[in-house]
Each structure stands twice: as structure tokens, then as C-alpha cells.
């Protein structure tokens, strides 16, 4: 039924006449370009700030700061692999984080469900993911705009929960200290993120959910023809993404040690940029979670490195922006052709 390769205007069609891609390795790292770029960045900044950049503290900082986008990137990548997109990240984070803080021991003394607070937080994310997924698949509203709306819904929930009382704080020590505590020299936050990434890789490679995600991204029509319950699996993917965002929100709240509706601030564009830089096609079907992980690390290293190198905050966004464009340009250059359709 489609005259066009892409489901949404945002998305990039496969090269019309480019040579077929080579057989992929076990995981999706098709070429080492991204990895090399990452190493390049590390090398540059290490050279610029020999004393500080490679110091254990700084590396820990980088890993710790990468943990949020890594976790959220898992969900975001799955959604983008189906050819959809999830903009609701920051809203979901806010709602989940606030729920968690208010349900665990906090200075407001609102409630203390102990570990169940985490479950509750994630549950909120699942519900929001469900909302996005249902509206998108049943009402046929483009994911772009649905999740845009859910973003505000999430923020709204967080704000309502916050109400007009004092900031709810987490008590010192205990669970609040967990993310920054080191295990085998690495911050727990990062280890958690790593776990999420590995789980994501497993799902993408060894489960129906993962494989069908790729299938749907390749062509919803054909997937239907192959008897894949497309809508249901898209729904699942949005739920998973919601859960990931929620987990990110809880972690962010833990790190901050307080409830804040804007706990997810700046995560969305960072994550999407990471997905794109990693080389996952916004058109769906091509790419993978490992790529996103690399993209996240690139951006985190870049951000951290720029600060270490004393770049003025005014122009920092410009540098990141330029790098994003450059990365995509380099990644897509080989596919250039006069027949290539790029959205």
C-alpha cells in the first residue's frame, strides 16, 4: 500500500542502488567506524588534558554520566528499530522518578514501600509506555506526536505528585548512596546500565520480540504477511521503552537524592543523538543497541572532554552539534548515490 519506503517523513530510506550490505557479525557492529571515532575522541582529549582526562575519577564520572542515556538508549533503540520514535523519555523519567521518591523513605515522609517503590516507579513508566503504544497502534497516530503528548502527560504527573510542598529528599546513606558506590572499581550506576545493555542485546538477538522488532522495521506490510502480529509487538516495544525510561528516572532520582520533575532534563536529545551517531537508521530495521551504547559513550566523552578542555559553555552546544552532523555525514557518505532518498 505504500508508494514510499518510509513510514514517516523523518525516516531515511535504504539506498536505492547501493551494493547489498555485507553479512553482519554476531552483533550489530557492522563496521568499526563508530568504535574508532570513540577511541579518536578519547585520544584527542587525553592529549589535551593528560593530567585529568584519563584519571580514574574522571573515567568514573564519564561512566556514571553515561549510565542514564545508556539505559534509556536501550528502549529508544528498540523503538527506532521498528521505525517509530519515542519522545516521551523526559516526561516518563520525571513521573517515574517522582513516584519512586514519594513512595520510598523521604523527607516528606509520604510513604515507605522500600524496594516496592522502585517497582511502582517502573510501573508508572510501563503505563505511560502502554498509553503511547495503544494510541499509536490503535488510533494510528504517528508515534512522534503521541509520545510528544505523553512527554507532557508525564511531566504533568510528576508536577501533580510534587504538589506545592517542600522538596522530598532521600535520607543520606542507604539506597541513595548505591549508584555512586564502586564495585570492582566501577560505579554501580554504570554496572546497572551495562546490565541493561546486555539484556537489550540478548533480547535483540535471541527473542521473538527482538527479531520481530527488526522485521517490523524492515517492512510492516511483509511482517503482517508473515503472520507477525505487528501492532501487538509494536505495543510491547513501547512498553519496554517506557520501562527503560522509568528505570532511568528512578536512577536519576537516586543520584540527585531528591524528587524533581525535571530530573530527565536534556536526556531526550542526548539519547536520540546517540542512537543516530551510533548508526541506527531512523528508518528502522537497521542498527542495534550496541551501536547506541557506543554513540552514548561518544557523546558523554565529548561533553566531559570539552569541559575539561575549558571550552566556553556558550559554544559547547555548537561543538556537539557539529560532531553530530559530522558523524552522520561520515557514516552515510559511502551510501551516497544520486538515487538515494534521505528524509
Amino acid at each position: 500500500m505504500t508508494d514510499k519506503d518510509t513510514g514517516t517523513g523523518l525516516l531515511e530510506a535504504a539506498p536505492a542502488s547501493s551494493p547489498p550490505p555485507q553479512r553482519t557479525g554476531r552483533f550489530e557492529v557492522r563496521n568499526l567506524g563508530e568504535v574508532l571515532a570513540l577511541l579518536g575522541l578519547v585520544a584527542v582529549f587525553a592529549a589535551l588534558n593528560p593530567a585529568t582526562f584519563l584519571s580514574p575519577e574522571n573515567l568514573r564520572t564519564i561512566l556514571d554520566q553515561a549510565s542514564l542515556p545508556l539505559i534509556i538508549g536501550v528502549g529508544a533503540t528498540l523503538v527506532i528499530l521498528t521505525g517509530s520514535i519515542d519522545l516521551s523519555v523526559e516526561g516518563v523519567m520525571g513521573a517515574a522518578g517522582m513516584t519512586f521518591v514519594l513512595l520510598t523513605a523521604n523527607s516528606r515522609g509520604s510513604a515507605d514501600l522500600g524496594p516496592w517503590a522502585i517497582v511502582a516507579g517502573i510501573a508508572v513508566g510501563v503505563c505511560l509506555g502502554l498509553l503511547s503504544g495503544l494510541v499509536h497502534t490503535r488510533l494510528k497516530v504517528p508515534s512522534f506526536i503521541v509520545t510528544l503528548g505523553v512527554w507532557f502527560v508525564g511531566l504533568g504527573i510528576a508536577t501533580v505528585l510534587f504538589g506545592d510542598q517542600a522538596i522530598p529528599f532521600l535520607p543520606d546513606g542507604g539506597i541513595k548512596a548505591w549508584p555512586s558506590t564502586l564495585t570492582v572499581g566501577l560505579p554501580n550506576s554504570f554496572l546497572l546500565a551495562a546490565a541493561f545493555v546486555l539484556a537489550g542485546l540478548f533480547v535483540a538477538r535471541f527473542t521473538r520480540l527482538g527479531r520481530f522488532t527488526y522485521a517490523i522495521g524492515d517492512s510492516e506490510e511483509i511482517s503482517k504477511g508473515n503472520g507477525i502480529p505487528v501492532l501487538r509487538y509494536k505495543l510491547y516495544v513501547f512498553v519496554v521503552a517506557g520501562a527503560c525510561s522509568a528505570a532511568g528516572g528512578v536512577l536519576a532520582a537516586l543520584k540527585l537524592g531528591a524528587g524533581s520533575a525535571t530530573v530527565g532534563i536534556g536526556t531526550l536529545f542526548l539519547t536520540i543523538a546517540a542512537v543516530v551517531i551510533g548508526g541506527t537508521s531512523l528508518g528502522g530495521g537497521k542498527g542495534g543497541i550496541l551501536r547506541t551504547a557506543i554513540g552514548v559513550l561518544m557523546l558523554t566523552v565529548l561533553n566531559n572532554g570539552l569541559i575539561l578542555s575549558g571550552i566556553s559553555p556558550n559554544i559547547q552546544s555548537a561543538v556537539s552539534g557539529t560532531v553530530l552532523i559530522a558523524a552522520v555525514l561520515v557514516a552515510t557518505w559511502p551510501h551516497r548515490s544520486r538515487l538515494r532518498i534521505v528524509k
Binding site: R23, D218, K286
Partner: protein
């Protein structure tokens, strides 16, 4: 690993598939009307009909994509209802779709297993994959269809015929899992295959007959007669004939199909060689596609390029039209060498290209037929930068008359016309050009029924008479021999032979041996 024990054997006399009074209509249009037919065991039944005769709808019903409004489907003598593709699969019906229906970013094994898997299958347990088993099963089946593809290959890396093989393997896979005596539906499998590949396929189909039964949908009458034991003819959604192969000739079938005599084949010699070639290629080459390709076509003459898959002939045509770059050689249009060749320049020089991928490259399905018609050469339909909608509609209606496009409403989106009628409009949009100098046709008849094919061929000849040079990539060698004044044979990017039909008259076999 055939598990015959599981197969319900209700006697060999019960047909594998039996349809009774199946009807399906969309709004006012009756796509299928009271269709009844039988597919006995170990028989190949051919189903033919023009585009829009209702074949595709019938197939979609048989594969559970549509539910019939009325009528009964029986598989192995048992009444069945196909609500989802999986139901058809469970009933032992496997389909090789007309379109490629493989997921190109998944592995061959996954594609083969996909249908079964998305319902229920041993290769996945609790939603988890068991790659070893998956690949093993795939390998076994591929082995049966005599293909040596590595089941772990990504489909996007396969050649066209290999994909077709995977499709067939998958159709079998379905039955392997559940049925001993499968029914395989082949939906115009040969329409996109080259001659030599078709041969492989026919062999395949015969072997299929041994293990089960086949419903073979096509509109290549010769083929149908070669392969099938029985032929069912559909027209306007109804079955108009159900005959044994021995009882009919190609002519009969043609008449049954479109309800009129086929025109006698007049070989068009083509006018005398003009002074300057309308288009001339001098040692064109593109890395990995073709090398040192030279030819010249004068106004009013037609050149056919034949060759198997991967011969690079498509690439040559696209290069001539500016759709693909060339690394070496030169292009001379109407005596003048051209630089910085692009599709836009080509169009301005009066070149026309009718691509094989009609729906993607040939038209904008979302725009109305009239808008498509005037997209390239607006002529009277535009005044400077402004459009003249009335004039355009008038022009469109004239063309619709001339080419007998149905339905007669140029304001409908072109995407909603049938393939044949779309192709007519696509032709027209190029033929409108005042300055049409070169007409490049990439498989112009692909997927067209005989009726539409005739119209298209007539238009090609007409354009030729008006002094256009024609470059043709025919589907069949017969087509080439019928239409062309000159034939070039290509293999692996090289030109292996040239025939000037006004001098020598090669047979299809002569051409074939140069191709492979």
C-alpha cells in the same frame, strides 16, 4: 523429517483444496463472484486471468489475509476458516507470493521459519530463539529444493532467484511442520524471472507435484500449458473455464481470458537508419556493473538488450538515462556528446525511461492520474510556473480515451489503478513529450496481462513511428524478437553478441546460449 503420521489422510481422492461459491466484494466492486474450484492431490492446477480478474483476491482469501463474504473452503475434506495467515499455514497451504515477501534484514533461516514461528514452532520456545535448530531445519529444507544457500545469510545479500528459492522453501517449510501432503500456491513466480531461471523453477514445480499439489497462478499462457495438468481461467471475478491441459491451445486460453482474439504478431522492421543516431553509447563502463558497452540507436529504430540476472543491462539503461553514474566512456545524444549527465538533463533532451519498478520509480501513486500524466512534460497543463488544472484534465481525458485506461477518472490517485492501467498512464506521461527522442523501457510488460501488454506494445511502435529511438529490456526473448530491430546480448556486464534483425534472424536458443 517428514512426519507423515501427523497428516490426516482422508483418502487420496479427497482434493487437497476445494472451494465452493466463494464470494468477496469491496463496496460495490465484486472482486470474486461464486468461485468454485478443486485442487486434487499430486496435480498442478493453473489459475490464469487478466489483472483485476480476481486472482489476487482469491489468493488473499486462501492465505487468510481476507475473509470471504460467503462460500466454503475445504482442506483435506475438512471445512476450514482462515482468519489469520497462520490458519492457512496450519491447514497446510504455503504461498510463494508474486511480490518478494521476505524480510531482507533477517537471515534466510528466520524467513523460512517466520510464518510457522509467529504461530507456534519448536525453533522458538517461550519466545526465545534456538538458532542451531532454526538453521538446521532451514538447511534441510533448502537441501530439498536443491539450493545450497547458507541459512545464516541475510536475505538482502541474496540474488533474485535465490530469494525465489527461499520463498519456495518457506512454502514447503510450512507443510513440513504440519502436513505431509502440502498445497503450494505459486503466485506468478516467473513474472520476474529470466528464462533460464524459469527453467529451474519449472523443474522445481514438477518435483513439488510428487510430494503434494500446486496451484500455479500466471498469465504466461505457454508456461501454464507446459507446467499444469489443469487450467482454471478467471475473468471479472468469475471462473469462466476449468479445462484439462490437453483440451486447449494457447489461443483458446487467450480468448477465454480477455474474451477477444489476440492480434496476429506483425514483426515491425523499423524505418531506415537515420543520419545521426538519436542516442549513442561509446565504451560506457561502470565499476562492477558493466564495461565497454557501445551501441547506437537511430530515430525510429529499436534496440533490445537481453541477458540473465546480473548481466548489467538494467544498469546500462539507467546509466543512459542518467540515473546511475558512469566511470568511463561517453554518451552522445543527437550527435552531441553530453557532459554532467543527469536524469533532469536527460529529460530535457527528450529521453524517456519507463522503469521496471513502476510503483516506486515510475509514478507518484498519491497524485492523481492526471497530475502524474503532466508531471514530466506539463506542456498545455502549465503556463510558466503556474498550473492550468482545466487544460490538464482535458488532456488527461484524451489520453484515457486513447489508451483505454479504466476506470475513466483521471482525478483518482494513480496508485488505485490496476498495474496495467498504471503502466498505460506511465507510458503516456512520457509520450506526451513534444521532443521525445529516446524511449527506454525496462521490462515494460512485467506483470501485465495480455490485454494491457498489447496496448503498451502498440504505443511503443507508435512512438517508434513518430521517430523515437527505442531501447527495450524485454521480459522474454520472444518479446525481444517481436519488437526489436537490433538485439544486444549481455553477460556479466559484457556484450557477448549483436544481431541486426533486418539482416539475420536468430532463434531464442541462439540468444540463450550467448546469455549463459
Amino acid at each position: 523429517m517428514t512426519n507423515a503420521s501427523l497428516a490426516p489422510r482422508t483418502g487420496v481422492d479427497t482434493p487437497a483444496l476445494k472451494l465452493t461459491d466463494i464470494s468477496k466484494s469491496f463496496g460495490s466492486t465484486h472482486a470474486v463472484k461464486n468461485v468454485s474450484l478443486e485442487v486434487p492431490r499430486h496435480e498442478v492446477v493453473g489459475l490464469i486471468g487478466e489483472n483485476g480478474a480476481g486472482k489476487s483476491t482469491l489468493l488473499k482469501i486462501l492465505t487468510g489475509l481476507y475473509q470471504p463474504d460467503s462460500g466454503v473452503i475445504e482442506a483435506d475434506g475438512r471445512r476450514v476458516k482462515f482468519r489469520r495467515p497462520q490458519d492457512a499455514v496450519a491447514a497446510g497451504i504455503g504461498v510463494v507470493h508474486q511480490e518478494q515477501s521476505l524480510l531482507s534484514n533477517l537471515s534466510v533461516a528466520e524467513n523460512i521459519a517466520m510464518n510457522a514461528m509467529s504461530s507456534k514452532d519448536a525453533a522458538t520456545r517461550y519466545g526465545f530463539y534456538r538458532w542451531k535448530r532454526l538453521n538446521q531445519e532451514a538447511a534441510d529444507i533448502l537441501d530439498r529444493v536443491g539450493s545450497t544457500i547458507d541459512p545464516r545469510t541475510k536475505v538482502s545479500d541474496l540474488s533474485f532467484v535465490d530469494r525465489q528459492m527461499v520463498e519456495i522453501a518457506r512454502a514447503l517449510r510450512v507443510d513440513e511442520a504440519i502436513h505431509a501432503a502440502p498445497l503450494v500456491i505459486l503466485d506468478e513466480p516467473t513474472s520476474v524471472l529470466e528464462r533460464n531461471e524459469t527453467a529451474i523453477l519449472e523443474r522445481e514445480i514438477r518435483s513439488l507435484r510428487e510430494i503434494g499439489s500446486v496451484l500455479f497462478v500466471s498469465h504466461r499462457l505457454d508456461e501454464v500449458l507446459r507446467i499444469c495438468d489443469r487450467v482454471v481461467v478467471m475473468r471479472h471475478g468469475e471462473v469462466v473455464a476449468d479445462v484439462r491441459r490437453e483440451e486447449v491451445t494457447e489461443e483458446d486460453l487467450f480468448r477465454l481470458m480477455i474474451g477477444q482474439e489476440s492480434r496476429a504478431r506483425v514483426r515491425k522492421g523499423g524505418s531506415a537508419v537515420g543520419a545521426v543516431a538519436a542516442i549513442e553509447a561509446k565504451g560506457l563502463g561502470r565499476k562492477g556493473q558493466f564495461k565497454d558497452v557501445s551501441f547506437a540507436v537511430s530515430p525510429g529504430r529499436s534496440l533490445a538488450i537481453v541477458g540473465a540476472m546480473g548481466s548489467g543491462r538494467e544498469s546500462v539503461c539507467r546509466a543512459v538515462f542518467g540515473a546511475e553514474p558512469v566511470d568511463s566512456g561517453a554518451l552522445v545524444v543527437a550527435g552531441r556528446p553530453v557532459q554532467g549527465w543527469s536524469m533532469r538533463r536527460a529529460v530535457q533532451h527528450g529521453l524517456a525511461y519507463i522503469p521496471s519498478e513502476r510503483k516506486v520509480e515510475g509514478m507518484v501513486g498519491g497524485l492523481s492520474a492526471a497530475e502524474n500524466l503532466t508531471l514530466v512534460h506539463p506542456r498545455e497543463a502549465a503556463k510558466g510556473p503556474l498550473l492550468r488544472r482545466k487544460a490538464r484534465m482535458k488532456a488527461a481525458e484524451e489520453w484515457f480515451e486513447k489508451l483505454d485506461v479504466r476506470p475513466r477518472d483521471p482525478s483518482l490517485p494513480l496508485g488505485r489503478f490496476s498495474g496495467g492501467n498504471q503502466q498505460k498512464v506511465v507510458m503516456a506521461k512520457w509520450l506526451r513529450a513534444a521532443e521525445l527522442s529516446v524511449l527506454i523501457l525496462d521490462h515494460p510488460l512485467r506483470g501485465l496481462d495480455p490485454g494491457a501488454s498489447q496496448t503498451v506494445n502498440d504505443q511503443i511502435r507508435a512512438a517508434q513511428d513518430d521517430g523515437a529511438a527505442v531501447i527495450l529490456l524485454p521480459d522474454t526473448l520472444e518479446e525481444a524478437l517481436e519488437m526489436a530491430d537490433e538485439i544486444i546480448v549481455m553477460r556479466d556486464g559484457d556484450i557477448t553478441a549483436r544481431f541486426d534483425l533486418s539482416v539475420d534472424s536468430p532463434t531464442s536458443l541462439d540468444l540463450l546460449e550467448k546469455m549463459v
